[in-house]
Symmetry: C2
Subunit: 300 residues, 2 copies
């Protein structure tokens, strides 16, 4: 069996879980590498993936015999099959944070499950611990983000709109990665105080402050970086705020290590219109910065 | 009260629903024009929208006194407030197809609701009936799609990749609309038989068949159109299939009117690798086509 499915089987054993329905596509991709629409069933004896005709070919191209996953076309699964999958399971776990209430009720009806158990994000928690291959993908996404930011420092000129700048970032990512990881934020001047501003037609002006929040995807893994940059000069009244935010951010990176309380630490940073954000790898011995763009006053 | 909220209040009356929690942002935008993260509560006496500091300014810029919606910052809502909102409601509706099982349990705890009622997509059903303003937005999105398709017929040349073509469509939409309505499909040659193919690096060749599924957004409303086009000439063996699909599609448009069973009709179309799809307005008297690009053999 593939190691991630084996891990989940062991975890289920330790929780006395006899079956599990996995419907979150991100979790399915994590466990199986399958990037499709479908559902993964871990029954007492089998791992079953049910999908439809659109994806059968793709799924078979991904899986090998070592995965030990049986693939069904949804059109070939009868009502009896559904009722049999978990017949000898005393309980079946499901993803209570992904499955809607309506789906939950449908599952009970379809699989004839009496004892549905919340799994409290066991897969999500495991996903936080990245293996080398995953770190490699995140690192690649971070490198592309650093290069893109470097490119943007040359590219951005007064008179351009926020939308134009966001579009250039998007195209850069489309060409070099699997596109954006989230909607890019470019917030300038008075917009910079709105943490989730959508890029507008506002034109960049002299002495503007510009916040850029950007990230891309590589093999489904994301980078995420924010920088605050200045047009022409750094306004005197901003300097103490910028210095404080940067100092806090550096302190946070210093303090973060495996086991430290994330909530406690992040309370201190992000408090102002100025924003600085990095993607980091947290190890037992501290942080490894994966995004490395300039953080001192950056003037364009 | 704004007419859509008033409609929902009337609907709730007719269903003997005394309160309702609306969490699906698309439904909230439909009812209130608010495009943000938050939750809408219809209590016995008030319409309440709870959001956070990021959106307060935006929300106040959207709402007028006539909307009769009270806006709360989530930080100002106490545990007691949550318990009081639905205190005198004998039942409270919720969106069982949007709310996860975990959220459902959280709502029960937080609002102290004993009698939660499934609302069976009442808002979604109402959203299917479009008013003039909504039709205007959809029509605009359709016009832009027709123009874009026209542009693409000039643009596409053998040697270009599917990705390049998809990107051009995306940029066209970014400049003239609110961007794409969904991931654009460009499927050529052997890829054309996969209904949901992601654009690849495959280069367009002579005598290729190309399926393009495209749509954009205007004011949050979408167009959706598919055309099958040919490079150089229409292969003889494809002609009978194309003719059949087109004939079926035209028949479907002929038969569709308000009240006709959508499932029955759509069974007939889409059956082959050839695909033709339009956005239409369904009235009592039949269909009004909103996308109008050429459907006879189109050769580039």
């Amino acid at each position: 069996m593939n190691p991630k499915l084996q891990w989940l089987r062991n975890k289920m054993n330790s929780l006395d879980l006899q079956g599990m329905i996995i419907s979150n596509p991100t979790n399915i991709r994590y466990l199986t590498n399958i990037n499709a629409e479908g559902i993964l069933l871990l029954t007492r004896k089998e791992n079953i993936y049910i999908t439809d005709g659109r994806y059968i070919e793709h799924v078979h191209s991904i899986l090998t015999i070592n995965d030990e996953i049986i693939v069904y076309d949804i059109n070939d699964v009868s009502r009896d099959d559904y009722e049999n999958f978990f017949m000898f399971c005393e309980n079946v776990g499901f993803e209570e944070n992904f499955v809607t209430y309506a789906k939950y009720k449908e599952y009970i009806r379809k699989y004839k499950i009496n004892n549905f158990v919340e799994t409290e994000n066991i897969i999500e928690k495991q996903r936080m611990i990245k293996d080398e291959e995953e770190i490699h993908s995140i690192n690649k996404a971070c490198n592309i983000t650093d290069e893109c930011f470097h490119h943007m420092l040359e590219y951005i000129k007064p008179g351009m709109t926020e939308k134009q700048i966001a579009k250039e970032i998007e195209e850069y990512y489309n060409e070099r990665a699997e596109g954006i990881a989230f909607e890019i934020i470019v917030a300038s001047g008075e917009n910079s105080s709105k943490p989730h501003a959508v890029p507008t037609d506002r034109k960049i002006q002299k002495e503007d402050i510009i916040i850029i929040d950007m990230g891309c995807k590589v093999n489904g893994y994301c980078s995420d970086m924010t920088r605050t940059i200045f047009v022409g000069k750094v306004p005197e009244e901003i300097k103490p705020i910028y210095d404080l935010v940067l100092k806090n951010q550096l302190q946070v990176l210093e303090d973060y290590k495996d086991g430290a309380s994330a909530r406690q630490i992040s309370k201190m940073a992000g408090k102002y219109g100025v924003r600085i954000e990095d993607t980091v790898q947290i190890t037992k011995f501290g942080c490894i910065k994966l995004t490395n763009s300039e953080k001192n006053y950056t003037i364009i």
